[in-house]
């Protein structure tokens, strides 16, 4: 019984949240890796682009709510995804046409494009501030819980409760759909293969008749879908605060680099590596040990390796360690 309680405790406070957070990071990390693999620069506007897409979901959710439209048990925000994705892609393509495209034509070095993306980041932040402001917004509605701790305890008779938030299940479910569709597209369709070919060997791709403009267009479209959906899922699960999206760039980049930058499959797994590391290292295991250890051995301290204030330090350390020892990432696999 104590053993079961210990498992439920971990499931409730670490595994389920880590799977959720990991999915959100994974979507962002694939976005980073795609842009890096195809357009060949580190996009520092990643976090704010995710925020930009989410902003439209928030605004439209409020508008739909004001009209009395909702999605029943599910969050209204899910209805706004197509619109938010559309606005995001429109913004990305506009930025690409007027900013990135210029440097791409000039064949600027990747560092220069990365610096340009910092500029794009600041502009994007400013636009967001003008449109919606910097404050914290909740836009989750519908059924908040799939399973409440109390119900779980009543059903199982255990001491520990398991809470399953609807946002957790929605996040995991939507991520599986989005990511598997994307991998299917990249690996099985002609356009997807041409994207991978372009990323692998640009000159030969041109000699084979692949149109670089089309590759760039498709890349931004996929990036827009990933960025917006990742951002919305994160915002539903936590809340929408533009500054937090900027902060999330560190774990997102860490995930992309852990997975081997340019490798979408690695970025996907990298998201979970970072999420699990962050949550496992900052969780206080006291109660867990109280369940599994005999009373005489019970810990007196919190048994917490790091305070949650240091969670970004974990991403950062992983980033540095990977760059030092396995700069090509910890996963084998094809680049995009």
């Amino acid at each position: 019984m104590d053993f079961l309680n210990a498992i439920i405790l971990l499931l409730n406070f670490t595994i389920l949240p880590a799977l959720t957070y990991g999915s959100q990071l994974a979507l962002g990390a694939i976005f980073v890796t795609l842009i890096y693999g195809v357009l060949r620069f580190a996009n520092f506007a990643t976090g704010d682009m995710m925020s930009f897409g989410t902003m439209f979901a928030v605004i439209l959710t409020y508008y739909l709510q004001s009209l009395g439209i909702n999605f029943g048990m599910l969050p209204t925000a899910l209805l706004t995804i197509p619109f938010a994705v559309f606005m995001m892609i429109f913004y990305m393509l506009t930025v690409d046409k007027f900013v990135f495209g210029y440097y791409r034509l000039k064949k600027s070095p990747p560092v220069q494009l990365a610096m340009v993306s910092v500029g794009v980041m600041f502009v994007t932040q400013a636009i967001i501030r003008i449109i919606i402001g910097p404050s914290d917004r909740r836009f989750l509605d519908g059924e908040k819980f799939i399973l409440k701790a109390r119900e779980f305890k009543e059903i199982t008779g255990l001491n520990e409760g398991l809470t399953i938030k609807s946002t957790q299940i929605i996040t995991i479910f939507v991520t599986i759909i989005v990511v598997s569709t994307m991998f299917w597209f990249l690996n099985k369709t002609k356009t997807g293969t041409s994207m991978r070919a372009y990323s692998d060997n640009e000159d030969l791709a041109l000699l084979s008749g692949i149109d670089p403009k089309k590759v760039v267009l498709i890349t931004w479209i996929i990036a827009g879908i990933l960025a917006t959906i990742g951002g919305i899922l994160y915002g539903l699960d936590k809340s929408y605060r533009p500054f937090v999206y900027f902060n999330n760039m560190l774990p997102i980049f860490a995930a992309a680099i852990v997975g081997g930058i340019g490798n979408p499959y690695g970025a996907f797994l990298g998201g979970y590596v970072i999420a699990f590391a962050e949550i496992f290292l900052t969780y206080a295991y006291k109660k867990f040990f109280m369940y599994i250890l005999p009373e005489s051995l019970e810990p007196t301290s919190l048994v917490q390796l790091l305070s949650t204030d240091y969670k970004f330090a974990i991403s950062f350390s992983i980033l540095v360690i990977v760059l030092l020892f396995r700069p090509s990432g910890i996963f084998e696999g094809k680049k995009i």
């Binding site: 991978r196 070919a197 990323s199 692998d200 000699l207 008749g209 680049k335």
Partner: protein, 235 residues
């Protein structure tokens, strides 16, 4: 007038000096033409000019009598000119199958038959069709590169050192394949360092030195020309 010709081509990289000057090369269908010359002579540059990867300062490129000097490389590919570059001539992160499919990117019809023909030509590749090309041997990679270029069923095939870095046995095999391809009425232009072997399967050859035509003639004539032998064939 030849089927595919570059006439008096002068070109260089960017604003740099002319690398080839007044260089003339041509090939007819069903003919293998070898381009020989010392390292840095401008052989690769001449090929890139034929494909339009470099802008000509003067001269022209004609195919079947039509001046295609203003065509983009992609449009030339669409017209049936295939090119296997000297380096990075495969997609090393894609599988053999995917490499071939990308080769036929501009073709819409069913590719299965064309791919089957390629596998008949290069049976080794059939066993490796789902393997990533980066994991193949150098010789197998050259076959993938050739196969990729053949997927559009080109009428002009340009090969930049197709036998670079392969063993003598594989080299002979590759040359056999090239002869087979020529029999399908393809005009083949190839740059080769293995000059003797290349000339022995070539109908004609050119020797370029510092970007200019130095010698030209039938494969046999060049092989027997004492001056060519002394300076380029090492005997």
């Amino acid at each position: 007038m030849a089927f595919f010709e570059g006439n008096n081509m002068t070109a260089g990289y960017g604003n740099g000096p002319d690398i080839i000057s007044s260089c003339t090369l041509n090939a007819n269908k069903g003919e293998i033409v070898a381009i020989l010359g010392p390292n840095g002579a401008g052989k690769s540059t001449a090929m890139k000019s034929l494909l339009g990867l470099l802008n000509l300062k003067s001269g022209n490129v004609k195919m079947d009598g039509e001046d295609i000097s203003k065509f983009s490389p992609q449009d030339r590919v669409r017209k049936g000119i295939s090119f296997v570059p000297q380096t990075k001539n495969v997609f090393s992160e894609l599988t053999v199958n995917e490499n071939l499919k990308i080769g036929a990117f501009l073709r819409d019809e069913n590719l299965e038959n064309v791919i089957k023909e390629i596998f008949e030509l290069f049976p080794v590749l059939f066993d490796k069709k789902n393997q990533v090309v980066g994991e193949l041997s150098g010789g197998q990679r050259q076959q993938v590169a050739l196969g990729r270029a053949l997927m559009i069923k080109p009428s002009v095939l340009m090969l930049d050192e197709p036998t670079a870095g392969v063993s003598p046995i594989v080299m002979d095999e590759l040359f056999d394949h090239i002869v087979k391809i020529k029999k399908n009425n393809v005009a083949i232009i190839m740059v080769e360092q293995n000059a003797k072997q290349a000339l022995s399967i070539s109908d004609r050859g050119y020797v370029l030195v510092t970007g200019k035509n130095k010698f030209e003639g039938s494969g046999k004539d060049l092989l027997n020309d004492p001056e060519v032998r002394r300076s380029f064939l090492g005997a």
